[in-house]
Symmetry: C2
Amino acid sequence: MTQVRKRSKAPPPSQRRRSPPANPTLASRTTGPLDALLDPALFAALSDPTRLRLVACIAKCGRGCTVGETAACCAVDLSVVSRHLALLARAGILTAAREGRVVRYIVRYDALATLFRSLADALDHCRPTDIACACNADCAEGTCDAR
Amino acid sequence: MTQVRKRSKAPPPSQRRRSPPANPTLASRTTGPLDALLDPALFAALSDPTRLRLVACIAKCGRGCTVGETAACCAVDLSVVSRHLALLARAGILTAAREGRVVRYIVRYDALATLFRSLADALDHCRPTDIACACNADCAEGTCDAR
DNA sequence: CCAATACTTGCACAATGACGCAAGTACGCA
DNA sequence: TGCGTACTTGCGTCATTGTGCAAGTATTGG
């Protein structure tokens, strides 16, 4: 994660976001070509060992897991877990739902599985065939739309 | 990426690694359960926008791309591109091959596609059924093998 | 062997990210 | 309304990472 610069001062408690914004529609990433599927934010969310462990933990607990339960999976402060889960939800990997006093996080199985399959398909489509790709001369020009 | 602490001083030029180590066998990650597939290093490699652009660029250029060609895809120094490509190769996403004066990098289409499909499958298997998961009480104990 | 091309690596620096602690907020129940 | 439980957020710290520049190494051709 490099060029994602978000540095706005937290708004006052009154107007502070209480319920997280709608999860980004993973579906919107599952249609386009390879570029559209290669979202740095998604991979960044999955690039931390602690977060991955949390995801794995929640993925296996059928019903949603609370922050406290999930925190038992790894040896970091509860506040850290809370932040990680919020981040994962923002990335569209988890869904959060408040149930009275607790918040349950659950993995967005379908969205993720669909996304990964789309990625695999997109890669297959990119695989070179016998016909040479016209963009060989220079990736920055010609028919290569990678930029 | 957090707990990956590698802080060894670079070895002297004489014993410095010239050819990169064999790419990690992505295949080894495509068999186990979800945990085995959730490799932080892989996602970390894909978490940088510049690197993703390089991957997309190379993915679409059927034959391997040289470092110089690839560098045309984005506005960073050639040395940066070189480092990114080496990292991607180390992560098993690209394969490097020296051809005379140039080095060609190519996407490991099959390995990646297989990995992503395995991930999707693993997620599908984790999806809760009607039978409640026995590990609900506490993710850190019981039958939940997420830790 | 020298020069040119094509990368790779050392070094310094700024920005980012993960973390823990402490304080703050939300919700349910007396 | 006051209290306890369950999270969330502010803040400071420290390690990691992305980047550019300059110097180093590899490979080919003269």
